[in-house]
Amino acid sequence: MKPSAIFLAFLLVVPTVAAPQGFAGMATAVEGFNDPRPAPAFSFPADHGAHPDYRIEWWYLTANLQDAAGTDYGLHWTLFRSALAPGDTGGWDSPQVWFAHAAVTTEDAHLTAERFARGGIGQAGVEIDPFAAWIDEWTLSGETLDALSLTASGDAFAYDITLNANGPLIFHGGGGYSVKSPEGQASYYYSQPSYEVTGTLTLPGGDVVVTGTAWLDREWSSNPLSADQQGWDWFSLSFDTGEKLMAAQLRSVDGSRFRSGTWIMPDGTTESLGDDALTLTPIASTQVAGRDLPVEWRIEIPSKSVDVSSRPLNAQAWMDASIPYWEGPVFVTGSHSGRGYLEMTGYEE
């Protein structure tokens, strides 16, 4: 779940209204867009491509990496599509707007870059066969979604990695229909959580050869938030046991939380976790970019005997993009140990 993206997308649609209203405006339905329906039947590779009749969509990749000396790195790349109106006419008039974020996180640095593009003129887009998702010179491409290469660069960093999937696609919620609120807001949501990564990071100190694992999220929707939801806390974790976990909670202004998750077995079979199957509890906070953020969490899933706490590689992993949020690599210890990514949004103000 990437609420920051939704927020961004919404701001692009109604920039003057959204800022004062915050997340409250996101429940506003926009005429003409399709809404996700339960029990989806995906068709691949077509569904790896863009869905211009839905308002928002993303290709979201996070990677936990290490160099030969065992130093940890995090890598993040996201391509967002935001439709100002349904459909795609091509040319400058196309309502399809694209933007993207890239970042590399080390123990003491968090390097980021942001791009914007018009869809209709070919500056950004997604093609399905062979697969290619791009904005400017940033590209995520390969013969299929299982074998990809990824490049991106900012003014202080660059990366060039290859990804090979060694597991199946994972469908969240009900076969990829992921409910986000008690009121029934939902998105289509599937992941490829099992990439093996090799590649090179170009950092201010020089090139670093890295290996590790990556997780790709695919999600699209038109109206995924309920009126009172203000932000998200989201985890993608890979445990040393080979099991994986997606766990997220949506925070409402009244203090209530709507939780959801997916438990992934080493063979790729999944179990959807409902609102009462897991808890996410902040255990320590840090000053980040002038605000107090809960950078350490306790995650409990009684049915899976999971009780772990997470700490960030770099607590200052603040994405200082046009809409800022926190996104960075984390490590978990406790009943299980492992690593993954945490994203926290709705803490802008």
Partner: protein, 798 residues
Amino acid sequence: MIAAALSSLWSYWRRNPLQLATMIGGLALATALWSGVQALNTEARASYDAAAAVVGEGRYDQLVPRAGETLDEATYLALRRAGWQVSPVLVGSLDLGEVALHLTGVDPLTLPAGAGAAGQVAAVPLAQFLAGEVMLAHPADLAQFGTAQSIDLIASPAITQGMALADIGAAQRLLGQAGAISRLVVAPDQPLGRPPLAEVAPELLLQPAQGGSDTAQLTDSFHLNLTAFGILSFAVGIFIVYGAVGLAFEQRRAMIRALRTMGLSMRFVVVLLGAEIAVISLVSGAIGVVLGYLLAASLLPDVAATLRGLYGAQVAGTLQLHPSWWLSSLGIALLGGILAAASAIWRMSRLPLRAGRDPQVWAMQSARGQRLQLVLGLALLVLSGGFVVAGGSLLAGFARVAALLLGAALLLPPLLEVALHVAQRRARSVTAEWFWADTRQQLPRLGLALMALLLAITANIGVSTMVSSFRLTFIGFLDQRLIAEVYVSAETDAQSAAIEALADDGITVLPLLSVETRIGPQKVDLYGARVAPVYEQYWQFLAQDGDVWSRVAAGEAAIINEQFARRAGLWPGDSIPISPTVTLPIAGVVGDYGNPLGQVIIGEELFITLFPETRARQFGLIGGGADALMARLEAEAGFDPAQMIDQTALKAASLEVFERTFTVTSALNVLTLAVAGAAILMSLLTLASMRVPQLASVWALGVTRHRLGQLELARAVALAVLTLLFALPLGLALAYLLLAVINVEAFGWKLPMYLFPADYARLAVASIGAAALAALVPALRLARTPPARFLQVFANET
């Protein structure tokens, strides 16, 4: 005590309202001319800046096409896909019938956040802007739009008048330039690993941020021209004020003596007089600002037309009030007043307390001043010559002109003195001798007004000689260049083909192939010429090397125009790079008075090889008569009469543009002459009352009042004639400087000088008439002075 002193100082002005009016009028006029010109300049510059600021020109590097006016959208995409963080901008003139808006199309998603347009777009719903549904314009411009526009308008006070802002997609649609981009703004932060520009888009040129806009560089000379006129007018105005202030102080000597005997220190009197001048200057300044605004507002449309015609620069047709403008105008009025009064106050504080008010004393006092003037005048003339050595820049050219004019003006009174002295020697009757002697005696006072007249006549002769010479040269140039009988614009490839097919019937077809390109740092128009015998027949070269046309036809040489040759210092024998791969020797340099841009002409075949995408859309046709050709094209190839123009009509249209270009110059010329006339009138009026004592003696000797009046008029005419005689060679010298120095620096062409005796005769009649007219009122007044007033002079002396 202070109140009493103030009241007595003020009482003088109350008793001499005409002198007060002279002061205020002179200073107000000077301020008006100065500030009017400043307003014109400020407005035009603000317009360029506004156009440039839309995308932050000057703040960001830019990529511009090496050749042609636009680059292809595909090039933009190639750069983005290679990592270049650039943002597309398309600019163009959006024609709305009566007026045109300067439309800038931007892509708000990629525009650097610091660009001016980014802030303006943020005020609009982004979805509508990106969809090309809205255009931002100044509220005052919205009224110009009909309802039939294909785009919604949003009033934005942040947009400068005459400008409009839209999404680049909308701009491409509105300007009819699908897929075209004028330039790319380069973001300050660029990603790692970006390939060099030459690898991705060798057809583009990186323009560094501090380069400034082409428009500003081009139009600098025009604005310097206007400024020079403003300074000239201001100087003429200050002469008037100088005369009036000197007189007022002279006549108040008795009053000041009285004030001092009552115990006021000289220092205090000087402070009071200074304060008086300051108040008068500020009042005059305020009036001048209003007049200047009106002047600027009435001239602005012509200035805008000139700038558009000459340089293609867009200037909003309406004037806006900038606080800096009227504040500086008040400042310049104050400065002018103090400058004009400074010497009078200084002299007053030095003259002995008991000095009389006899003008003869004043005249003798100023004899020393005249010697100084002579020396200074000569020094300035030498300096004017000296700048030839320093020469080189436009500023040096104007400095030469200024030194020449000022030096000549300073020399005028001594020279007139000599002339009058000679006349006096040769006088045969007593009356005549008195007439010349009396004229000499008045010279110091009238000198300033005459200097103003001299400057005005000189400027008139110089500028009109330049414009008329330019005009003759331009007409000759048109005859040389417009050699085809008919000029046709094709709209489609089919129409182009139909025109080319005429060649089969023995009609000479001359396609006009051109691209805008850059050679080194210079923007030039590159033409491809289909060499025909008519070119050899009509074109004349300023410099040439061998058989120019056959070398050009063979693609072995290029022709360049004079302005390019002078700016780049390239002449026959030198070589120029036409493209990255082709360098050609220069075969000929040709005079070109159509625009200040450089031009390079190469053979058609070579042009097509270098720019295969450029199609000729304009053609010249020779053979069979204009009317027959046009009728045939209309009947056979479906050409609209609006697509064709015959040679005569085209020449007329070109000349019209030329005439409009100099409307402003001639308007300012007339105004300067008017100011000089006013200067003479005011000097004579203020002198009139002073001269009653001398005239009383002459009257007592038997010369009638009527005869005195006639002599008064004759004196003005005699002085004007002498001034005119002096002004004529000076004016021609000025014309030479303008043609051979200023024009070369400003436009890049040197013009032959022609003489226009009939024009000078007309000007002589006008100047003498103006002087006579100015003298008429004082003369009439003198003729009607009651004898009692003359008698009173003697009564006071007993």
